[in-house]
Symmetry: D3
Subunit: 334 residues, 6 copies
């Protein structure tokens, strides 16, 4: 097995993800304060990986999440189906006025010097109400599942979501699946109820069950309390900083077999330099660096995770898996 | 004085309204469950009257409301300014994640047989946090104010908003202004915290201070617990039902000098028959009935209130004031 | 059983349809000769019924069809998934230049006096290449199927598609399913290879296996060679003409248990009078007549079939089933 | 005469082109598999040159082609007129279902790393049915024509179109016109009926009658079977490779007086380096290299041909003619 | 000859019109005061007739007008060519700042009760600078012309345009053409320089040379000072009022052989009742009345003129010619 | 005081501008000659500074200008209010046909190699009719004003606008305000009535009253007749040329205390190198140079002026004020 991950070769699902589904309002290059119209997208950091694996890589994937029985929930369900992802939903009933809601992500695309602006209305979000016991993992995994994934955005939503991730990962290990976790540290979200200290506590417990860890230098520092380098004058594209922190991660979480991240230098909103690196079973691999004309930066990181996981699931060589993640993430920004 | 309302002839403001400001997401004729894009409008039942009086009738108006310091708040502020309405805002700070928020109204336009669908995300709405003491009414009214208005949507938002309306109306009376209240009974909103009984209790206390009452038959029944007719087989355009209930209103609230409403028969989403009636100081007045090609029904009722109030403020004859309301409300649906 | 159709009460699929999938180019109210842009829809007369039953009525449905491995095929597959319809596709490989193609339907919406204009590019259409033996019906029906449907558009595509329908219907009967056929007679399509005589020959053989027949007066005349009334000065909304032809249909095809159709008077492109009638096991049922503001007339007939079939599948009374079809078809034109 | 082409100084037409007209569906930066709408453009490699010469350079031009009597044909005719190009059309009658059709070109614009994707539905294309004898060249050329053009896309459409080009070029020479041919080698098109061997056979016979040849290195190799350089590690902007092949072309086709091409290095879909070179009567000329922000790459090559031909027709110095082609082609990509 | 107009049977042109070309800015159903974007159309009352005759009826037509050498002039020229109308332009040079300009027509579409609003920026309009002597009519008419047309909008533009119409009509008569004049009385335009009295003076001199006169009751009253009926309580669809004024017209202008007009009752912006009448050589003809769903009312009158003229030019019976005008005008409003 | 400008610390207005308001028609990247639709923006060089200071920097600003009482005037008034700028308007009445008008600016955005194209219809522009005596400056400035601004575009409109600027500046000095003038030399505008000589004469008289002068090298040469450098081969980003001309400016206008400009190298329409410099009380300051992805270049210069003035008004250090202008101008092009 190229990556020495012990992946089941067949199963009803190649990949199942656990996370929140949101509707993103996107006014394009116009900032929200001047917007008069917007597109409505469906996304979710954890869902995006399942969606890419199904839509682009033709894998059999599923999403475990909350849905609300109102038109926004129906809109989101339709897009989940369209992407070819099978859903396992706990359904909530909307009261017509204040929830439970499917979260709103307000996010413009920025332009040139002007960075994208992102803010939320996650008030009374249905996904945050999910808790251990809500899903019958045995049944969900009964036809076989090769990989189970979740991430730091879902973990940050409430006191119960992190516990649900732990429950899911334990069941996944029982079912013989590989588990992965994308740290995706969001200070704003954690600060609503727990703060950085709580974040580290929750995430650390989750990572105990993760075979594959995705996250950049800042994610490792804030989400896992791994000390970073003292001097950070180096380019964001220099992998040595990232590799320097891996040893500390492995020391703390010796069961982790893969740690990977993208490296991104944002020259302007529409121009990024883009690379990716991974530590796989003690060896390090780097993708090339390329210049990206960026249409919309949202989703590049999830795209990397998707390509990498596809490579690992299909038994590509580690260096190829990293390149697949790097190339797929790059294409998703166009 | 034609309407025998005792209206101050001059003042810094012709009209000040108290209510919530919202952003409405409008996918047009496409229902939300199939929408991929939407327009963003700014509205609010109480605000609309101030906006129409300023934008269409060139009166000097103001809005007292809550605003949140984030891009949606800025978007809303800009539209308030654009309409020529002066704002008195209590400012809230957004935490980036769950509020306090400017409420979202999801509302398509429907088409033909398919009625418009409206639902909200009013969770943690800033306007619902407003309470007595938040505004310095003396200062706001110091340059003179001729008319002060509020309505049932704002009253329904929380336990404190109804009290704030009462505080405002008392101050308005002290300042010599006419007061009006548009019942706008919304079952969904009241049911979140109070239910119909609480609604009647709150609204009754507000109406004690109102010179002018706007509301249809259902509003009178549900919002004021005025018994309606036993048989309702008559056309919705027949004013006799409405006039039949007025006596009971006046009996209960003898200080009320004007009660008015639109009469609307919805033949299809795009075709309404439209009339309006008023009881003014003991006499009844009816506008003609006309057939409307309706583009978007939202705002027709507020448009009626605006035209009627303009007529009364400018000392038109009562029958002309009713016609102004009727005509302006009709135009707003195009 | 209300309709005396002997419908299996459970199964993996409530409904499976066999037919062609197309992409419709729709420039809206602008005629194609003046168009500079168009929307791209996915449809197909037979597919639409499966899509409506899944999307609106939440039934478990499938579509058996041809798909081509190129971007238009992927676009169509995504919309099939989005509607919640499971696909059984024979896949064709596109040569990049002339096919096999997913058919193009060019169709504007017309306006007022100006009727919609529809024309095709069905040259080398993949669905027309389908033939008996292409699908393993046993396997498709193995989990149980309650209803199997096809229609006259698919039957007209080539010499082999009618034969495939017959094969499917036989298998459906073997599997215990109800079978239905929507005549949907299209002179233009039949004239390409067979003409009216061939049409009658093919359709007659199909109808031998159909429990439920959908089709208007013209469909019965042209598709089944049933003589119509001599004088046709009556309103198109008068059901007597249609009922008058039923006896001849039943005489010729005694196994048919339901014959149903919509009645439509086109007053203008945007204004239809709309009714529906059905003969069910010897009794006749009529829906009311209503006036429709029509947004896009395409799909109204398929919408009727969907609602009717839903009513029959859920054991509604015959008159309710007809009304469900009538109401659902009406809503689809908005 | 600067270019030593012996160009008639006056005539009813400065330029007449022979080729197919198509409608291009363009979803912009969104790939077709995710598109829900598209623009409809009118183009055609051979037509584009006539259109640019008329629209931008105000020359008197004509197009000889096939048209179909249906709305897409009318749409195309209107755009031909709008560009100021006079048409000589053989008219075909559409059967409403499968042709003869005006070809569809599906072509998105790509973005950044993602290249544009192009595919066709040319099934039963009217232009492919054109054959020698369809046009009265004497009459078309009777008022005088200074230049006659065709190209490799039209030549590839069927067994008869190449023969028609030869017929046209012979008549053009008889009428005293300069003749040009743009190789535009498209492997996909030739492979449908003839393959590379047939292509070389047909094109060679056409080139016998061409004074001016346009085509890049690959066009010369595949379309004329001229051997290319052994090593191709050089930049695509280095003209030496191209010049190295000219001698072989001239040896084989000694009547050719001009061979020209663009040189393009595609750095990303939106960033090309752009130059152009020409061999004119034994001397070589190069345009500068510039960096292009590319909006839509389609049409750059035809734009080069137009500018070059304009320069030659107006008796500019050869180096100026090459620069005109280079600059005009560059502008067309914006 | 059915209409006893003595029409030449062949000629290079079936129809030539003299008038101004404008660009119309059209924000659709949104009134200009709230518009943020608009469509750009090309029109002109006199041009529209030539355009319809060419585009819809495939006649050979021309337009004599002014054009300005700047991008708006180019935009307009392109649309003239697209409609298939040959242009005879006097070209003016734009100074980049204040003209001469192609006139701007600001015109929304209105909706329902809200009527369309139209206003102009015709300041320093090139067409108003046209004067007798600007065109070589002999040369324009040299290949034969069957019909020459102009109208009251062009006549109203300046002191010289009316004189130019007279010059053109005289030349037209010399060339054996039928002449027509559409009164199209616009009070706003005449009031800029001449007022109603000047209008009558100019128009009367023009009508001396007109065989065919188009204009409604108001046009006849204001443009020709023909006294109207005393009481006008009759429906606008009652032709008797119009017929009653014809005698006075013929008495005053005995050479006129046809007088025609549309009859339109505007029920709402989107719903008109529509008819048309004509007096042809002493007999009167009426079209049926139909109900129109109106998309954009602009151009309906010109559409009537086009259909009527087509009918007369192709020797249809008078009643058919009137119906052609009526039907074509109706279709143009969709 | 950092900049040694003696700025009043408080006042009803932080900033009042005098200039023309226009509506800009913007077809985006499509050139006008090919446009079929456009956006409608409201702008004006002098207004933009007031708008930016209010909208972005939350200062209290006003605009003194002309408005016309027609829908375009209303549209413009609304946008002025939306930006939070208080208006002092002289109102003109539109005659419906040729004015007085709000000027039209036709301006596309260009793309890549293709530069934006700008032209006007300023014929009979209301703002050009403004003249000394039209405004009561004492009253406007009565609540205190800290800064008064105008510019070269307004000065160029007519013989009276320059005189009005002088009147305003005198009053501003009397009121204790800082005065600024942005040269913004537009050859096209001056040439309509005065030419370069008249321009220098008018501008020189204005600059007598200006504390702050904004304008680039060309502005200084043409607008103030200051001789430029003999050799201009240096980069447009090299500040030495600009600084070299300052001495001559100060010699001629010794009261000027600040001279500032942006430095811009246009690499392509979408890529500029951008810097800014200022001479403030004898010292020179430079902003860094950055690379801009430009969305729309219009407004960058006004944006610089806004940021610089904000910095000076808020008592930032001179180098910070220059950077604020530079950064704000850059952001405005995104």
């Amino acid at each position: 097995m190229s990556s020495s991950l012990n992946i089941i070769s067949k199963g009803e699902f190649d990949f199942i993800s656990l996370g929140a589904l949101v509707h993103r309002l996107d006014p394009g290059t116009i900032p929200f304060r001047k917007a008069t119209e917007c597109k409505i997208h469906v996304s979710g950091g954890e869902f995006n990986v399942a969606a890419n694996l199904a839509d682009c890589f033709k894998m059999k994937t599923g999403i475990v999440s909350a849905i609300v029985d109102y038109p926004i929930g129906e809109l989101i369900s339709e897009r989940v189906r369209a992407m070819g992802v099978k859903s396992f939903f706990k359904e909530f009933k909307h009261n017509g006025v204040n929830g439970p809601n499917m979260a709103t992500v307000y996010s413009d695309r920025g332009f040139g010097l002007r960075a994208p602006v992102v803010f939320y209305n996650r008030c009374n979000e249905a996904a945050a109400l999910l808790r251990p016991g809500d899903f019958n993992w045995k049944e969900i995994f009964s036809g076989g599942v090769r990989w189970v994934h979740s991430g730091g955005i879902f973990a940050s939503l409430s006191e119960t979501t992190g516990e649900l991730i732990i429950e899911a990962m334990k069941s996944a290990k029982d079912a013989g699946a590989i588990t992965s976790f994308d740290l995706n540290y969001r200070t704003k979200l954690w600060n609503i109820w727990g703060g950085e200290k709580k974040a580290v506590e929750v995430i650390s417990r989750i990572v105990e069950y993760a075979d594959v860890l995705i996250g950049n230098e800042e994610d490792l520092q804030k989400g896992l309390a791994i000390a970073g380098p003292e001097v950070t004058k180096k380019s964001k594209l220099d992998p040595s900083i990232f590799f320097g922190m891996i040893d500390k991660v492995i020391e703390k979480y010796p069961k982790v077999k893969v740690v990977a991240t993208t490296l991104r230098e944002v020259l302007s909103t529409n121009h990024h330099s883009w690379s990716a690196v991974a530590w796989i079973n003690g060896k390090t691999y780097s993708a090339p660096t390329c210049e990206l004309n960026v249409y919309d930066r949202v989703g590049g990181g999830d795209g990397f995770a998707s390509g990498l996981i596809f490579g690992l699931l299909t038994n590509e060589k580690p260096e190829e898996a990293v390149k697949l993640g790097w190339a797929h993430g790059a294409l998703l920004t166009t």
